[in-house]
Symmetry: C2
Subunit: 122 residues, 2 copies
DNA sequence: GCATCATGTAACCAAAAGGTTACATTTTTC
DNA sequence: GAAAAATGTAACCTTTTGGTTACATGATGC
């Protein structure tokens, strides 16, 4: 997954209604576009736009069956991020107490070395 | 964490430079705003704007020391999402084989029950 | 105390985002 | 075959986003 793809996934998740769409599709695999309508206060076309964003981020895959479009949730983008977070941050979230200790150490270290750096101005 | 906060966090993560800022701050706790400049092709003020977004999402906390501002990474928002994902999706990502099996079952189930729903139009 | 440094705000602009109504197309139903 | 259903596109508009340059302010160094 390329950085641009990460942008797309996080961006897709950055809207409440889109997260709710994902929940609905995940809990109702194969549901249709029109099944989503009653759950939202916005227009059908707004929902179509949200679906387009989710599809581009690969969080939703769909198939056209006659005049209907069946929607499915795709866990892969989220799993990729989840796994990447596990790799990068697992040392940071050992637990509440360990975490506070780490934070304090980080701040002490910062004060000890927060000095000479290269300078540049925009 | 409220849904609006989730919007803010995902939105903050939805920009490549902002993720890179987070990496830099995480690996250099207590670094200053100007330390970030050399790593990016955009202007200093653009970076300040990114920092404002990250701060609002609580992914970065900072303290003013004299004329400098020291930056620290805050793992909490990401940990909250991570834990929530673990709760909601752990059944979905048991493994590649199990996942494919689940997907097939989901699609078969969808075809069997993808029928009567309420209708509404925008 | 003055010049420099580090950060921050203001103003501007183009592009993107998020919504709307109107129109179009294909498939299904009767 | 005509009407209804389901989806999709186009056009429009307001707001937000992401960038820029210019200006401002307080702290630091000499």
């Amino acid at each position: 997954m390329m950085p641009d793809d990460l942008d797309a996934v996080f961006s897709a998740l950055a809207h409440r209604d889109r997260r709710r769409i994902l929940d609905l599709v995940r809990n109702n695999p194969g549901c249709r576009v029109e099944d989503l309508g009653p759950h939202f206060a916005t227009s059908r076309v707004a929902i179509l736009k949200h679906l387009k964003v989710l599809t581009k981020a690969e969080l939703i895959v769909s198939e056209k069956v006659g005049r209907e479009r069946l929607l499915y949730f795709n866990i892969m983008p989220i799993q990729i991020i989840y796994d990447r977070w596990a790799t990068e941050f697992s040392a940071l979230w050992a637990g509440p107490i360990a975490q506070i200790k780490y934070r304090v150490e980080a701040e002490a270290k910062a004060k000890a070395e927060a000095k000479p750096r290269r300078k540049r101005d925009g």
